[in-house]
Symmetry: C2
Subunit: 419 residues, 2 copies
């Protein structure tokens, strides 16, 4: 790579020759590049992803593309997002050890990261569509969200370190801009890149006529773009999680930015709720049990988040916010302060949750849970439930009593004909 | 200055020799430095301030000191704050033309700014203590706060420009850290640098025993450190405003940072409220009229802010937030959205207002309005009213119906014996 001073996309054919000098890669797969097998597995929109296999083992090579694959080279995207992904991965690894793939090597010019090959992990979304369970999933995700939220904030970090980090990640402009438009705004008007299932027209018309709903969605956008509480993953859906039957990892943090502490867990819950609402199209046998399992994952993820956040509050509150000098040192219990912070997190989370449920059915990037439902009228019926529950969450985000109320709401919409 | 590669504090004696080559200064005061008269007028804590007079006119030289003057060289402060002051002044001048002194020259190494000499302006706080009125003050300040809030936010700015600016100002670490500690936290416990008027002990004990109050103050701190809605002045009190009888300017933005849109106007109102509460010690004759004038300034500043903000909302909403594509283009009035944004601004503003009222009586940096009251028991009585109203504002920030309610609250505390 020494001579390669300009970016060039890798191919299955050129990869061994171009990366044979990268010691960190050779250490994973073997010294002799002529023995390497290379397979391209990228199914994302923004990147090339290769598995390199050799006598020593396997590694993943992820390289950013200079455009959005889904729409071709008409939508250019800066390569520097690999730089932010790399810095996100190192911070996530420090804040929740073992939660993300190990990074072996990073090349900024080539916008590529050599990282741990996860096996036999598959994308969680595939497992949810297939009706498979993952042991420990809620505990893992609840801890991951709580630890990254808490440890990336001024509840924990020193102020100067956090501001330096905010400045670094403020350079990630174009990728968060996708979220800003596609997630928060496009669902609520007839945007150019939108697409939606036939039959949803009456429901969509109701949503778009609801001025109060749009105000609330834009308030959430205002918080997303001007709140730097913590470093968020920024795209934590079930396609950004890889799982075996009992182990999970979080991948693909290229949408990283500083944002509200409730952002990741809100988006995550939305994707579980969409898995839940889509289930009637994917199975008849065991439907009730599997839907109940998904709701249990949501409930347990949120309760683990609360438990872990409160634990970190007690044991790692070393930042300038809510200092012990004001509370414990004065003989004052700081639980009311932790309650207030958590209330703010959930208010943000439930609004984001509802918005994510909307954008995945109405904006550009849909998800397989619904997209793979061949029966269009069934798909519309299931998506309609999801859309109307999303609106309810956005409208009531401040008043929701807890995740059990959200699960109860999901159950009530699950049987409804709202189209 | 060409050869001066290291910082050195100016003196009255060395200034002409050191700055004689600065064309922008010579253009203001005259080419021949031997004719310059130099006077040091700095009464601040962080800087040297000189007036240079010559046959051509006058100019101000402001140079940062590497420590806090108030406490001596035991509290070092980075010189780079002059860099942030310079960048703040240029942005404020663009966002509200004429509101801040014209910058003639900036030298980063020497941490100095050559700027417009304002005459016959004096510090507004002196006028308020002296019982003088300033025509147009509320209109000026309301417009200044609304324009800088709106035009520095993503209601107006393009997202990439704003993120670049957030990254730039995130480098201003130590100065905002003073606000974080001295304003938001120190008042609420027995912090080392605190001082308070004798006789306030019972009131202070009540405030510090109020856990809910401390939670709210820290919530406001959380928003201050992790909200980048707009570029705030950061220290907009009556000592950062210079006025004649009918003209005003905003000075000294070295505490600049990105922060909540309600921060500046909240701190500003607090300083007017402290002027209001301190008046009985400064005059007998005309007291009621002058206090009524101060409350009218508060009311008119806030109503001008609202009017100007709503005007900018209609005419300059060119950012990604609350876009016309979602509202006006759909035949939907965006007034409910503007109402929601303003509600958020006032919620932040009244909390900050109450906190500022506390810190100026309890933390390190007091203000002359109260400090110059020689009668300690009278001072304590007036400060107690101010402290208790501050607590009321912090507790009720979300529910306050408007500035008239704040003025009514001030009137009700003005006659009270709360010590």
């Amino acid at each position: 790579m020494g001579a390669a001073n300009t970016y060039e996309a890798l191919t299955v054919e050129t990869l061994p020759e171009r990366l044979k000098g990268v010691a960190a890669l050779a250490a994973q797969v073997g010294e002799d590049a002529s023995t390497w097998r290379v397979e391209e597995i990228g199914d994302g929109n923004l990147n090339l992803v290769f598995i390199v296999s050799g006598p020593g083992g396997k590694a993943i090579i992820k390289q950013a593309l200079p455009y959005v694959r889904l729409v071709g080279d008409s939508w250019p995207l800066p390569l520097y997002r690999a730089f932010f992904e790399y810095h996100a991965l190192t911070r996530q690894a420090a804040r929740d050890p073992g939660a993300v793939p190990v990074v072996h090597y990073f090349d900024e010019t080539q916008a590529l990261i050599v990282m741990e090959f996860l096996a036999p992990h598959v994308i969680l979304r595939r497992k949810l569509i297939a009706g498979e369970r993952v042991e420990g999933l809620a505990a893992f995700l609840g801890c991951y969200c709580a630890r990254t939220a808490f440890r990336g904030s001024e509840l924990s970090m020193q102020s100067g370190d956090k501001k330096t980090d905010v400045a670094l990640f403020a350079g990630n402009i174009e990728i968060p801009a996708i979220t800003e438009a596609l997630v928060f705004t496009d669902p609520y008007f007839d945007a150019e890149m939108n697409n939606q299932t036939e039959g949803l027209e009456p429901v969509v018309a109701r949503l778009r006529a609801d001025v109060g709903l749009k105000v609330r969605a834009q308030k959430a956008l205002q918080r997303f773009v001007s709140n730097t509480e913590t470093m968020v993953h920024g795209d934590l859906h079930s396609g950004s999680i890889m799982s075996t039957d009992s182990d999970s990892k979080v991948i693909d943090p290229e949408f990283v930015q500083y944002g509200p502490m409730g952002f990741d867990i809100g988006m995550l819950c939305a994707n579980f709720l969409m898995a839940y609402f889509s289930q009637p199209a994917h199975r008849a046998s065991g439907l009730d049990d599997y839907q109940a399992w998904i709701l249990a994952v949501i409930a347990d993820t949120c309760s683990t988040f609360e438990t872990e956040f409160r634990h970190l509050w007690k044991t790692e509150r070393t930042g300038i916010l809510y200092p012990a000098s004001l509370f414990e040192d004065q003989g004052h219990d700081s639980t009311p302060a932790c309650d207030a912070v958590l209330a703010g997190i959930w208010r943000d989370a439930w609004a984001v949750c509802g918005i994510e449920m909307h954008r995945r059915c109405l904006s550009l990037a849909h998800n397989a849970d619904f997209e793979e439902i061949a029966d269009v009228s069934l798909r519309a019926r299931l998506e309609a439930r999801n859309l109307m529950m999303g609106a309810e969450l956005i409208h009531t985000a401040e008043e929701i009593s807890g995740v059990e109320a959200v699960c109860a709401l999901a159950r009530s919409f699950n049987g409804k004909d709202v189209s």
